[in-house]
């Protein structure tokens, strides 16, 4: 089988993606518990509200760090030219018969996702730090930090839902890139025809 496999993600890329993912799951669960009385019960999962907040703060630092590391790891792929557009990418997901311009290592949708994950991740990071140390900026600006943290989470979560779906059941064969770092030749030909990956 190994001759069918192509290297998609290096062990370093996978490591930081896993770290970022685990951090986000912890942040989402602790964050919801700290956001609203409706989700207050979630703080019990992490040993109470004080511990939830401490975990949220320090895991947040891990999330910020990995968000930047991941951007540096994929910067070249995010900026690589490609014939496909966001429109053709979305069409290819909605219409199985659609044959659009071939995508490179990342299609236009994945590039947009990469930038947005970084952007909204950083906004959550900056606003989060200011929620941790609220006396840093003025009162009027601080009020917007809470809203922006919340808003960025909702947008980020929306992108994540699509990301997780397409990375698992939506496009079968993708998950192995995250787990083993490899994909099949057939998968690459179907999803990223213009990408010349190395054999694993």
């Amino acid at each position: 089988m190994s001759h069918h496999l192509i290297k998609r993600l290096s062990s370093g890329e996978r490591f930081f993606h896993w770290l970022n993912m685990l951090a986000f799951i912890v942040l989402a669960l602790t964050g919801l518990g700290l956001y609203s009385q409706k989700f207050f019960g979630l703080t019990g999962l992490f040993g109470g509200v004080d511990l939830s907040r401490a975990i949220h703060h320090y895991v947040g630092l891990v999330f910020i760090a990995t968000t930047f590391i991941i951007l540096f790891q994929f910067m070249r792929d995010y900026t690589a030219p490609g014939e496909d557009t966001l429109g053709t990418t979305i069409k290819s997901y909605l219409d199985p018969d659609f044959k659009g311009p071939p995508a490179g290592k990342f299609n236009a949708g994945q590039k947009l996702f990469g930038w947005c994950a970084f952007l909204f991740g950083v906004v959550m990071g900056i606003t989060g730090l200011l929620m941790w140390f609220p006396s840093t900026v003025g009162r009027g600006l601080q009020q917007w930090m809470y809203f922006l943290h919340n808003f960025s989470f909702i947008v980020f979560m929306g992108f994540m839902m699509i990301h997780v779906y397409l990375g698992t059941v939506g496009v079968p064969g993708t998950w192995s890139a995250m787990s083993r770092g490899t994909v099949t030749k057939e998968w690459a030909k179907k999803n990223h025809p213009a990408w010349e990956g190395e054999e694993a």
Partner: protein, 276 residues
């Protein structure tokens, strides 16, 4: 119990600060060492040990000094920004008398209320006994515990000039009518419907009060708008993904369907049955 109101008639205030002292005494709040900052106002700000502070607003009118004596204190809003912002069940509550109270035993020091207040009132501090090294939020309690024993708040009880009074709804109506006759502006928080009512000799801004008090826009967006938006967006997204899986189906690479199944032309529902 019916709602109660603290009425502050600024025309009668002589800035004796008896209310400040009575408040500290009843609530067991310590005095704070301060420096002369060129004003009679003292201490410099509300804090975990100062729930009420008399304002000395000094202006010059026709070569003469004109004082405006106001107060900084919790206004006990019916529509309270702090309660909207608080993420801990029961940590900030509004009782039947209208007293909005922070329970420091439940407060976890998130400081959301500090920035959600239209009047910039709650202060956080880790110094007090309840805090024990962790931040807790503090503000005026409207002496809810005195009220529960049938007593009026310490500040209104002690006021020697009648500037501060404690009133029920019927008495408040009379006070409001009388104030209009005397040319005083009634300031009751407008849409926030505060249980602290000012009778002002001058514009609200002369007393450090917002002219149009309202829950801050970002706080409103954060607590009132984004909550349902987030929940709806989450479930709409979930339904959209399930709909995609069921109607369009997963994007299967050739190998899996390979020689046995038709390669994609089927589209639609036939793809759903393809193994992956």
């Amino acid at each position: 119990m019916a709602e109660k109101f603290i009425v502050i008639d600024t025309s009668k205030c002589t800035a004796c600060r008896g209310c400040q002292t009575a408040c500290k005494q009843w609530n067991n709040l310590t005095a704070v060492a301060t420096n002369n900052r060129g004003s009679y106002e003292n201490p410099p700000d509300l804090s975990s040990s100062t729930y009420v502070k008399v304002l000395f607003h000094e202006t010059e009118v026709d070569g003469e000094v004109k004082w405006h004596f106001g107060q900084r204190r919790c206004m006990h809003c019916a529509d309270a920004g702090c309660i909207k912002a608080c993420p801990v069940p029961g940590a900030i509550t509004r009782d039947a008398n209208g007293a909005v109270v922070i329970n420091q035993g439940l407060c976890t020091g998130c400081k959301y209320c500090v920035f959600a207040c239209p009047f910039d009132i709650p202060r956080y501090d880790s110094g007090n006994a309840e805090g024990a090294g962790v931040d807790r939020a503090y503000k005026c309690t409207m002496c809810f515990e005195r009220q529960s024993m049938g007593m009026e708040p310490a500040c209104t009880k002690t006021c020697p000039t009648g500037a501060l009074s404690f009133a029920g709804e019927a008495k408040l109506a009379g006070i409001k009518a009388g104030a209009k006759d005397r040319g005083l502006e009634v300031y009751d928080g407008g849409p926030l419907a505060t249980n602290v009512v000012f009778l002002l000799e001058d514009s609200p801004s002369a007393y450090g009060l917002p002219a149009k008090p309202a829950i801050p826009t970002p706080t409103y967006l954060w607590r009132t708008v984004m909550k349902p938006v987030g929940v709806v967006a989450f479930f709409a997204g979930l339904i959209a993904l399930i709909a995609h899986y069921v109607n369009v189906g997963p994007k299967v690479a050739e190998e899996e369907t390979g020689t046995t199944a038709p390669t994609g032309e089927g589209g639609g529902d036939s793809d759903v049955s393809s193994p992956y």
